[in-house]
Structures are given as C-alpha cells and as structure tokens.
Symmetry: C2
Subunit: 327 residues, 2 copies
Amino acid sequence: MITLAHGAGGRLTRRLVEERFLPRLGNAALDAMGDSAIVGDLAITTDSYVVAPRFFPGGDIGRLAVCGTVNDLVVAGAEPIALTAGFVLEEGLALDELERVVESMAAAAGEAGVKIVAGDTKVVQRGACDGLFVNTSGVGRVSRGFAPAPDGARAGDAVLLSGTIADHGMAVLACREGLPLEGDLASDVAPLGGLVRALREAGVDVHAMRDPTRGGLAGALIELAQAAGVRAVVEERAIPLRGSVRAACELTGIDPLHVANEGKLVAIVPGDQAETALEALRADPLGEDAAIVGRIEEGDPGLELLTALGGRRGVQMPLGEILPRIC
Amino acid sequence: MITLAHGAGGRLTRRLVEERFLPRLGNAALDAMGDSAIVGDLAITTDSYVVAPRFFPGGDIGRLAVCGTVNDLVVAGAEPIALTAGFVLEEGLALDELERVVESMAAAAGEAGVKIVAGDTKVVQRGACDGLFVNTSGVGRVSRGFAPAPDGARAGDAVLLSGTIADHGMAVLACREGLPLEGDLASDVAPLGGLVRALREAGVDVHAMRDPTRGGLAGALIELAQAAGVRAVVEERAIPLRGSVRAACELTGIDPLHVANEGKLVAIVPGDQAETALEALRADPLGEDAAIVGRIEEGDPGLELLTALGGRRGVQMPLGEILPRIC
C-alpha cells in the first residue's frame, strides 16, 4: 500500500522510484535522477504540488509551482524556455481563490523570466481532491561550457549554501498547525536563476548543484555524495538558520537539516574557487546569507556532520515522512 | 465557484480559460490555444488525467496519459522528444495497482516510440485525492515543411476522420455506471503518430489537425472552424459509429458528436488531396474505418450537420458537463 511516507522525498520515495518505476520506464535520462532530465540540449522536469494550506506566509501553491520547476531547470545549468501548468480542481473551489493562484503564478513567472505556454484544467467532484493540485513541467536549454552534473562532486570541492535552511517547511507547518510562533517565519520560495547566473558570470566551474527541497539540505547532500561516490562533510555551525526557525524546530523536535527549502541553492565548487563563488552569491539579494558550509572528501559515500559540540556524526536520509504536503 | 462543468471541455471550460487564465498568463504561444504550444522549433503540451474508473475496457489511466499527451504533440505536427509523468497518489492505494499503471505507461510509450524521462510522486492523505491522478507533459520537435495550424482550415478543404467516434467516452461511462451493454464497447485509446506519419509521407499538405478528445468531434470541429473563421459542414451519415456505441448513446440520450475519443484524428486537407489522404489513413490499422466526413465552406464560423434525414442543423458546443472524469 502507498503511505504518506512514500511521498516525503526520503528513502521510501527513493525505493518506490527505484523498485517500481525505473525497472519499467528506465532510460538513461530518467535513470540519472537529476532535478531535470537532460535530453540532447534540453533539460526537462516535472513536479506536482499539493501543499496544504495553499496560502502560507511568504508564498502560495502558485508561486511554489512556478519557482519549484524553474529551480529544477536552473540547478541543472539550463536556461528556462517555457513552463506548462496542469490543474486538478475540486468542484466547489472558489473562483476567486483560483484567480489568486493564477495571479501568483503569473507574478512568479515574470520574476523568473519564463512564460507559461500550455495549460490544462480538470475538475473532479466534491471530495475527490483537496481543493486544488497543480502540476508544472518545464523545458530549458542546457548551456555549453556550464554543466553541473548530479554526480559531479569531487574530493577537494567546497560545499556552498546560498542562505538559511528550513524556512519553507517550518513556515508551512506552523501555518497549518497553528503553532504559536512569533516573528519572521516565512517561506523562502523564490526563483534561483539569478544566483546561478551569478556563479556562472563569476566563472565558477560548478561541479554539482541542487535546490534542497523535499528531503532538505541533508537529502540533497546525501544524494549528491552518493551519486558521486564521495563524502560530504558539513560543519553544523556554518549552516545559516533563522532564530524563529530554530525555535520552531526545537518546539517540534524536527531536525532542520531534513526540512524543505524552496529558494536555496547548494553548490559544489572546486575548493580554490570557493571564495569567488561565495562573493558571487552574496552579491545577489537572495544570497546575502550565503556560506561555505563544508567540503567533499574521499570516503564512504554519504553525509557527515561536524556538530557544534565538536563531534562527528553520520546523517541518514529519514525513512519516510517528517512533514507531509509541504510542496 | 468551480463546477464539474468547468472541466468538461465545453463552453464553460473555454470561458474559464479565456476569462481567468489568459488575461493573467497570456502570451503568443498560450493564446494560440492549440493542442500543443509552439515555442521556436519545440511543441510543448500538458494534460492531467483523473479518469474514473482507472481501468476500463480498452485501456487505463496510464495508457490514456501517455497517448493523450503524445497525440497532442503529433497533431501539432511535432515528433515527440520526451514525456514527463507526475503522480498524485492517495495514501492506501495498492502498490500493485500503481505498478499496473506504470507498466501500462511503459507499454504505451514503447508503442508511441517515446521515453518518459522525468517523474515526480506526491502522496496525499486518505480522502484527499481519489486514488491516483497523473499528469503527463510532452516536448516535441516541429518538423519543417509540415505545419498544420490551429487556424489552418480554408474553404474548399475536406474534413477527414480516422475512424469511429465516441468509443472512449461511452466505454468509460458504461464501465463506471455498470450499464447493461453487450458487445464490443471499448476505448479507442492509442497513439496517433503512425496516422500522422502516413499523411505526411503521402505528401498531404494538412492544413489543420486535432485529436477530438474532451468535447468530442463537434468540439474539435467547432474550435478549428472558429479559429480559422470558416464553417465546417459535416454529413451525419458519413461519420463512422459502432453499433454498440450507437446503442449506448441512444440508451443514455448522449449525442456521440460530443463524446471524447482518445485514438482518432481529424484532418483538414485541401479538397483535391482528400482521396490521397483517405488512402494513406486507411493503410494504417488505426485508420481502416477512416472517412471523408465533410468540407470547409465560407460562412458563419462554426459547425453545421447535414442530418441523416436530409436536414441541416447548427451544432453548438455544450455549455458544460456531459460525461465527467472520462480523461
């Protein structure tokens, strides 16, 4: 049976894909399991969005759907060409609400400099879907001479992060559960094209990039490390984290390393280009909290954390669900 | 409020798109409202599938999702490059059932000669979606020298149909409602690339093409006629219709002209190439019942039917729902 854990982006999601999908559908582009599939000079990606609630501090399902898919293209080193939008609507949804979502998609697409060129709308009867789901798919063109790869990380590389972690997941959770949290808890959902362009224009030879969404920073680094057969070593103290997010994580017992981000970039770059890359990221408003958070070493493929207390611990991908329906 | 009628592919769907989506998202590629958007030399399309039941005589949601999206590409004159698949699964769905759907997608993709290169899986809690929805998006390359256009129909053209109508919609309805119908009622769901290739290789200068899905043959012809500012005149007796489908339509009072097809092609070709086109279609197993069903004339944009009894009547797009969730 399918459980919520199968959709959480953890080990069960991966097992579902590896055991049930790949053996039947497998092909080189799909098997690479990058954020986008690379087919010739095209990058192609798809994501369905089922976030609950649909409107949350810092964003909504429409903004999320546009930024999420744009980000899957840009972290593959592609220039977005076009997006599609497929809606499944529940009978009884307020037209005003649909309009707000579409407005938000239009605004986010404008921000990202991409157009939504094709759409589809299905309606199901009351009770057959939870209000509104949207799928966005995206097509981009891969640029010559700038080709980060899912398995591109090499020993000696530095690990850069473009800003604070866990903002998106904790903002959605707090909003959904009515957690009594003060302050600036808000999703970071944003298009990452500017940050990627900054790295590129600074001449950084980015070996690998990810946007750490479902599965969080830990999930992204574990996947990058395993794909390349290397060890990512990250210093806990170096990871930017807002006070309000830290408080929400402590209250709920959730490890921010596993919480989804929707406007952050992880870049693996040659060690001697780390400072250049950091400077490039920080020059962009979305990257002002960017930091060098770790390095790539030889060793057992996976992620190791140097804790604030001076210890070292291996970090596993959670088996399944931490936060359901945060994207 | 959203009603089921907004998703039926009739006038309300069109109004929703024209009034709520286009003003916000509008751009040349989207505004053309073809089966695929044309962006440079790429054709791009998306469709979400919510058919109930998921397995029906002649097909299932997986085969439908692959064929539907492939067909949107090929009727735009494009060669499919790749598909994506985005799943929304309900907690509690049997893994076996998911596997059957994925198997079916793999088989249909093989038949259509296209690969599924990117995927996404979301899971929502019990009750938040009706089992399984799937979005497929597709990217194709538009060929030079073969460019049917949504507004390509011209007075003097012939209207060709590749086979019997209403098979898909009536098969799903009969299966869902348990109608006591005998015989060969089965969906026609199939990839149309071979039929399109046949027309192309026969050197037919196809002016416009559609796969008459939601909205049926009437919907497709009304949209083609309105886009080109011409009148489509169709002879009722010339339209191929299976006996079992006719019986099901009579029993339910549904006009087969408005019922969805998932493996049929409507082609508008120059009058003097109609016989060549017919021969090309009939040479393909999917086109053995192909027929010349009408012609394009000057006149009020729309569709006119020459009835079996010798009368003429204008055909309107239905306002809304005839058959919910047939795709």
